[in-house]
């Protein structure tokens, strides 16, 4: 079976209209956040964000199969000291369009953006909104099971409870036992909180989310040979993962530079894969 990976250059609002209805199994995307990436997308003001996105989500609803899922990675900005409500409004407007708001996953970022302010802490999480067309969507929970428990933290907590210095030698000797214990145990289903690092750095083009993020959801919501769509492709993280997992994929981006780069990669002339890429470690602490 041949796996297809297609790159379409242009504004996704228009290009999505050319895709067949009920043809996509899974949509994963991270649209430009309000007022971020001003150059590329003209800088959508928070107050106009919903109005800007709704025509796109309307098309996404059209192209998605009834059994498909749409995961939207998004987070609202701070404006005048408050969290803006455009994401909340977007959810309610998309429901009016016919979307089902099935779930909200949390991406708990291991390494969030630094900074200090008198009235707030660093933002260490983003929303992963799950939308569906029907209640009968495909889901393969067994594909994303995680090792049980938290070996490292248990060990750490025990250390802090006793006298550290005195116990170091004893801990050292007990170390192997714990490791084998942890490895021998079964796997469990994950939760709706994903604990992952923000990025896997490439040499030139950094991605806004790590490969482990689309990887987790593609395994969860699709089968081999299914069709994956990312209307805001960017550096092509979603397509790269889809291809490596033997899923067909379509990426749309308005930037020629991104499209060229991803096309070159598809042809195999340039491999931009992160070499020391870590497998996802969702829910492991």
């Amino acid at each position: 079976m041949e796996i297809l990976t297609e790159v379409i250059m242009g504004d996704c609002t228009e290009k999505l209209k050319k895709l067949d209805e009920n043809s996509i199994d899974f949509i994963f995307t991270s649209p430009p956040y309000a007022d971020a990436r001003k150059r590329t997308y003209g800088g959508i003001h928070p107050d106009k964000y919903v109005y800007w996105f709704l025509p796109i989500s309307e098309q996404l609803l059209r192209v998605l199969k009834p059994t498909g899922t749409f995961i939207l990675n998004i987070k609202e900005r701070v404006l005048n000291g408050e969290r803006h409500t455009y994401v909340l409004e977007l959810i309610m407007e998309m429901k009016k369009q016919g979307w089902l708001w099935t779930e909200e996953f949390v991406w708990h970022k291991k390494n969030c953006y630094p900074g200090k302010w008198p009235n707030r802490f660093r933002d260490a999480w983003e929303r992963l909104l799950q939308f569906n067309k029907t209640k009968k969507f495909k889901m393969f929970q067994d594909n994303v099971m995680v090792p049980v428990g938290n070996w490292a933290e248990t060990r750490l907590r025990k250390l802090s409870e006793t006298d550290l210095k005195r116990d170091i030698s004893r801990v050292g000797s007990g170390f192997g036992k714990n490791v084998s214990n942890w490895m021998g145990r079964d796997k469990v289903y994950p939760t709706n909180v994903l604990y992952m690092a923000t990025q896997c750095y490439n040499k030139k083009h950094s991605a806004v989310f790590p490969e482990s993020l689309p990887e987790w959801f593609i395994k969860l919501f699709t089968e081999v040979g299914d069709w994956v769509l990312d209307p805001f492709m960017g550096s092509g993280t979603t397509l790269r993962v889809a291809k490596s997992l033997a899923r067909n994929s379509i990426g749309i981006d308005i930037e020629a530079e991104y499209c060229d780069m991803v096309r070159r990669e598809i042809k195999g002339k340039q491999l931009l894969l992160c070499e020391n890429r870590k497998s996802y470690e969702a829910n492991k602490h």
Copy 2:
């Protein structure tokens, strides 16, 4: 300085009207979830939740000092396979009342409720919505700093990258060095994700949230001698923590049994403190 702890029995919609305006420094509460089955508060249906809560939040806005903060612990239920939107609507309606929606913290539960469903995973997070009356609210960030970095996880990742069994002995010998390294480092400010265990079990009355949750926020938003309010007191976790931190507190509950229990505890005749209570470990993994 004497610390006062007051328990008021009754419907908080009414009882709140008897409190002075601008008299409370911090409000922390976890209102009953929308649920048609529950008897208390007349069994609020999700569709009527906002309508039910708004008169209460209006009173909370009145009694809170301009420098005060209101933390609302809440999570929307699943209804007909979808997340209900009453929390989103509530945020927007409270903004119309005059509240500022400053931030949304995430309580990432270490041990969430078990279970398995064909179309969703276990829910491991809840919202902690921060509302303020003005932008000039009190915040004492230094009181909630956490140890830096993530020693345990780094160690764990290194182990998985190499041959585990072969390296056990070597790791054992290098253990003390790493521990001292980790201990020597400074503390950093936390993020807006709190990673805490779900509950601290009492003998009879289990609390909705662990003591570490109000503890963290009371330390962050109040000083010794300030006034703390919980309009849905329940088993009195908020009041217990407030008292132990030398803050005055007021709790309101409609259930006589809860009120009696908390009053007895205040008098010192019954100590319901969790014996093996852990200190909070926000953002440590």
